[in-house]
Amino acid sequence: MTVVKDIFVQIRSINGKTYAVKHNEVFLLDGVGLEIWQLLDGQNTVMQISEKIAEKYNKSVNDITEDVIEFINELLEDKLIEIE
């Protein structure tokens, strides 16, 4: 499964925090959240995203896949991304 960003969602940094902004709605992204956001390019599958994040933070894929999926589901619910 691959997911892509809604191209109209803008990333903004305000007061040292990063937000995804869609219309008048604002969603806070933490550091890992922004990294996952950047990997949602229609090329990486959810598993590949998990692998890249796991590698970067020196964790096992099994440990973080659930969190990645949960985060992606939140983005889907908020309609910030869509399944391709």
Binding site: F8, R12, I14, N15, G16, T18, W37
Partner: protein
């Protein structure tokens, strides 16, 4: 043109003879603008800036017999003359106003979605100072430049362009959803300009005049040896409106600008965290 400017630095009286009403000892007089920045061409004028505590009046300037124009510019007083075929633009800034601009940029709060505290003319004034060279009172002018945080100018432009990015993206989205692809097409081109203006500002290219966007990008590419941005900019700007492909073009523009914008926002965040 550069030869003429060099001559001015050797012989400041070339300039000073045109402004007898200026208190030379208590003023800073310098050359700035495109010629100094390296963007000048055969028809460029020479921009002379005068910072003093006393503003000249139209009566002062009418003492001169040369062909000239005097008017109150949007942000400052401007006086033009043509001498030996070269146009000189004299711009007068009051010391108090200059101190206000300096304090504004030095104390800018980059942490929030701020109200703009500098107008376009003031940003242009600060940018031109970066490339300025004094023709008199060199030590004083050099000390003055050291008191300005030009680094903040880079970030200020990036933040203001980010705000413009948000507004343009919203317009673009509205047009796109409404299938007004003509409007969306031109908004997409504007989004590319805004994105590159912010990107270039963070790389130190702070000239706010959109006419120099190409030259700024060219200079950045030549300095870094990386022509990827340049190639993509040219590719996106060279696209013509085609109803058959316009949606693809718009999506490509937005996606590319969004990717660049993430990098811009990460740099701003780092600065905000300091």
């Amino acid at each position: 043109m550069l030869e003429k400017v060099e001559e001015i630095f050797k012989h400041p009286e070339i300039i000073l003879q045109h402004i007898p009403w200026v208190d030379i000892e208590n003023s800073m007089i310098y050359i700035g603008g495109s010629v100094m920045e390296g963007f000048g061409n055969a028809t460029s004028d020479i921009d002379v800036f005068v910072i003093s505590s006393d503003d000249p009046t139209s009566e002062d300037i009418n003492l001169s017999n040369e062909e000239q124009r005097f008017f109150e510019g949007m942000y400052s007083l401007v006086h033009n003359i043509i001498h030996e075929g070269i146009r000189y633009d004299f711009t007068y800034w009051n010391s108090d106003k200059v101190n206000h601009i300096k304090n504004s940029i030095n104390n800018i709060d980059l942490n929030t979605d701020f109200q703009m505290v500098l107008n376009k003319g003031e940003i242009d004034f600060l940018h031109r100072l970066k490339y300025a060279k004094s023709i008199i009172n060199h030590a004083e002018f050099s000390e003055f430049l050291k008191t300005i945080n030009f680094d903040n100018l880079r970030y200020y432009i990036a933040v203001t362009e980010s705000q413009a990015f948000a507004g343009t993206l919203e317009d673009l989205q509205g047009a796109f959803i409404s299938k007004d692809y003509g409007t969306a097409f031109f908004r997409a081109k504007r989004l590319v300009e805004i994105t590159f203006t912010a990107l270039l500002a963070l790389h130190g290219e702070t000239n706010p005049n959109v006419k120099w966007l190409y030259r700024k990008l060219q200079r950045l590419s030549e300095t870094t040896g990386d022509f990827n941005y340049f190639s993509k900019f040219m590719e996106l700007q060279n696209s013509n409106f085609d109803p058959a492909t316009v949606k693809i073009y718009i999506r490509e523009c937005v996606k590319y600008c969004q990717e660049i914008n993430i990098g811009i926002q990460e740099q701003l965040k780092t600065k905000q965290e300091v």
